[in-house]
Amino acid sequence: MASRASGPAPEQDEALLLDRMRSGDEAAFAEFVRRHGGRLLAVARRMLRSEEDANDAVQDAFLSAFRALPEFAGDSRLSTWLHRIAVNACLMKLRTRRRKPEGPIDELLPTFHEDGHATNPAVAWREDAEAMLGRERTRSLVREAIDRLPEGHRTILVLRDVEELDTEETAKLLGLSTSAVKTRLHRARQALRTLLDPHFREDDR
């Protein structure tokens, strides 16, 4: 159903919808999924590599949200609350899915000579790397590079840099110490930099 321009304010509207859901109104659940499904699907597609897994995770996320609805106090923003639930559902999916053996990250990290100098000294990146992100080709290039990271490092990079969770929250979700999260994030960023470097380096025009 299209919303009317003269309808209630968005927060009021949201509260009304939640009330209808709490009273078991089926149409309200459908409306809720239509309203928030796009954002949850976007999160799941970023976190999981297969469309099937992403769809499953979104379904799981909505079911968890429905179950937790009575406890949703409304003091955190609904979108933030749902984002967290979706991230959790994706992590569950990652845990239960058969994993391919974790590749080593070492070969993607910078290497150094005995004297501490880099074996491949870095070269500046072209000015327009970020602007290039407007192009679909560049976006899929970054996405594919992230997907090439070993799973454990990939998950941390996606949570911290793509989904922008903070270190504490990431550590809690993954059952790691904050220092372990920091170390892995640093390695993951270095590895991602290595993978992007050939595409963005200045001398590669």
């Binding site: 089926e26 840099d161 960023r189």
Partner: protein
């Protein structure tokens, strides 16, 4: 004898703490002393920062996908069966 310059290996190893502003004044100055003398690490630092920015931009600029009717139907069905 003054402390030798930190090596590029050390620079790379602790770079994240420099970027996140977690270093004390003395360590930060050592990083900056290294940067002033080493163009390769300047380039590395810059591309490291931009790597993070590219990953962030990927999340922020994603177009919102439409919600397929099948997904709505599947969620409602599994809710009824839950």
């Amino acid at each position: 004898m003054s402390r030798p310059l930190m090596s590029c290996r050390e620079f790379s190893e602790f770079l994240d703490r420099y970027v996140e502003g977690e270093l004390g004044d003395v360590e930060r100055l050592e990083f900056e002393r290294h940067l002033a003398a080493c163009p390769a690490c300047v380039a590395y630092l810059e591309s490291y920062r931009r790597t993070t920015r590219l990953a962030r931009a990927l999340g922020a600029s994603d177009a919102l996908p439409g919600v397929p009717d099948e997904l709505v139907a599947a969620v409602l069905a599994s809710r009824r069966n839950a």
